[in-house]
């Protein structure tokens, strides 16, 4: 019973969030992309029920929202990991070796570009140019820029995230 109450409560909350987002743009269909960006900012991804609700609210077919969600690379249809790891594979970073770094990260942490590690530690994105070519190759972890990274230093930074997580878990256990 308690559980059902909680689910209903959550649904009401979600509805509220969606209404706020739609109102922010006066319900304009043209502002679909900003609305979806705001939903993603709220949940970290685009939950299917939210897309359903948004489609209904804007009187658009769900396929239209799905087309947008899959066309643009920044939209995610699955939850992301605890951390964000973004590696630039723009021209300059690539020339300076980020292709190999990307391969090493994927191999070492069993992740694909755009995907999340099996333990949900981080979501890995390989993006085209973050505009910091002067310090290439560039990796961004949770908003912090690391310039001039090498395979070794990139793996080290990411391994640091895993250690932090282990430390937090351990503390929790105690």
């Amino acid at each position: 019973m308690l559980r059902i109450c909680k689910v209903i409560q959550n649904m009401a909350q979600d509805n509220n969030i969606l209404e706020q987002i739609v109102d922010r743009y006066d319900g304009e269909v043209g502002m679909l992309i900003p609305m979806m960006q705001d939903i993603q900012a709220e949940y970290g991804y685009l939950p299917l029920d939210q897309l359903h609700a948004l489609a209904k609210r804007l009187e658009l077919p769900l396929s239209r929202l799905y087309a947008v969600a899959t066309f643009y690379s920044s939209f995610r249809l699955a939850p992301k990991g605890a951390h964000d790891v973004t590696l630039c594979v723009g021209t300059v970073c690539y020339l300076k070796g980020s292709g190999a770094i990307s391969e090493a990260i994927c191999r070492e942490f069993r992740v694909e570009p755009g995907g999340t590690t099996p333990d949900r530690l981080f979501t890995f994105q390989a993006v085209n140019c973050v505009g910091a070519c002067a310090v290439a190759p560039v990796m961004i972890v949770d908003g912090k820029y690391y310039g001039g990274v090498t395979t070794a230093s990139a793996l080290e930074v990411i391994s640091g995230l895993a250690k932090d997580k282990a430390a937090v878990q351990k503390e929790g256990e105690i």
């Binding site: 947008v68 066309f71 020339l95 002067a134 290439a136």
Partner: protein, 622 residues
Amino acid sequence: MTVLSNKRLNSISDLDDMRKELLSLRSPSAKSVHVCTGPGCAAKGSPKLYELFCEAAQQADADVEIIPKAVGCHGLCEYGPIVLIQPGDIFYQRVEEPDVAEIFRETVVGGRLVERLLYENPVTGQKAETVDKIPFYKVQKRIALAYNGLVDPTKITDYIALGGYSALAKVLSSMTDEDVISEVETAGLRGRGGGGFPTARKWRSCKEAEGSPRYVICNGDEGDPGAFMDRAIMEGNPHSVIEGMLIGAYAIGSSDGYIYVRNEYPLSVERLKLAIEQAKELGLLGENILGSSFSFDIRINRGAGAFVCGESTALMASLQGRTGEPRAKYIHTVESGLWEKPTNLNNVETWANVPAIINGGGKSFASIGTEKSKGTKVFSLVGKVVNSGLVEVPMGMTLRQIIDEVGGGIRDGKRFKAVQTGGPSGGCIPEEHLDARVDFDELTKLGSMMGSGGMIVMDEDTCMVNVAKYFTNFLQKESCGKCTPCREGLSQMLYILDRITDGEGQAGDLERLEELAELLEGTALCALGKTAANPTMSTIRYFRDEYEAHIKEKRCPAKECRGLFRYEIDSEACKACGICLKNCPVGAITGEKKVAHVIDQEKCTLCGICWEKCPFAAVLKV
């Protein structure tokens, strides 16, 4: 100051009064510390430096006014973080946290130089005290970037004090819409986003098109990898873009503006939002601007990660909440663009040039540059060049001057091989054409293009087939898939290029690539597809021998393509230190103390770790 910022400006004289008041509030002995927080310097920790300068300024004696400023990209990113002290134009490079106290004590308060932080000319060994003595800045001419590094991008008052919005005031008080367009026409301004279309002609067509409302768009979807010119302007001096758009909107007769910013640039969005808010508060955006009958407002839309949205019709589709698919352009967007209404789109740098043209006059702008390309162009000069950074040079400068004089030549004493301009739609230009003058038409003749201003320098270690593959892969992934030639043609080109770099190239592959390129150029729907073969075609044109080495001899001359070269240890250079042996993940290296090590080619997986780790450069690529 607080009184000032809350005041709405109801007339042009209000703006003049505000400027006078701002200048009078400045103590003549005031010193300002400009900390560059552009992307390059920020990645090296400059925001922390700014905080430290702020702390130091707070603790300083009250009799000297010290203003720390976090400013936009200063250009010489290679030597970041950069700190500039005004007055005096003193330029400190590679500043680290412990240096802050010293700079503050010696230079800001004491008026003495900190020698070791000055820029040292790598050729002459001479120290440069001020900006104009640094070769990197000497040959540059700054119009679009004029205030970058001087104004605090978060303060509209800073921009106004330096003369900001005076071009808008001039337009509103003394120019008709036609006057504005003629002035831009006299200036000969051409679109800086890549196409090079005459800006005045676009504005006039939009003004004369039937339908209302009319829209004005700023394209800030800077998608070319290796380019950050527009980002530097949006983050370093956002008001110059807003002022440019205001002037354009006045000329065209529009009251609705959009700025479309790339998803990867969150700081640009933040800076522009703040700038728009501040301009609205002062009445520089909104209804009845400066008491005139002209009204204009700007909205920001963020991109969602699609390269093709830099194409104008795709961008407009995206603004309408659709997938970014371009449409055929026989109907011009100036007649039927956003929501099928007359729409004028220009890129960030184009807009940022407009206030300077109005203030300085079209003639003066047109006196810079070549016959058909006027003014300056901002480039992000990156790659294997000594001074990576953001540069603005007069049109018509040669590639050699830009690379050697501004860029300081090639890094690590290597040999120049090619320079790539124009992003994924551009091409690679080899050494024999380095004396070509950089303008719209000259670069097109060489099989490349001006593009938005990425300039990527490549040295002898870069494999040109791999470069072509990189761009083709990029474009194939970013192709929207609407038209068949682009969707299928690029996949086929990539498939062939992949085969070549894997050492499985076949006779006839080059001809097949050329055929596909012709198909794309002739039949693709939008500029992305039409120009998509440029990287491959320009590299085949200038580096055919490299392609042939891959195909016929199964050899990569630049030793970049895995499998097309081997690693060997030079027995004379090897000091038998054992580092490679310990690091080899597959145990392919044998050797003992005092005996040169050897790689077992059978076991070697060509991962390159030994090559990276060897402290004596004894591991060779052969």
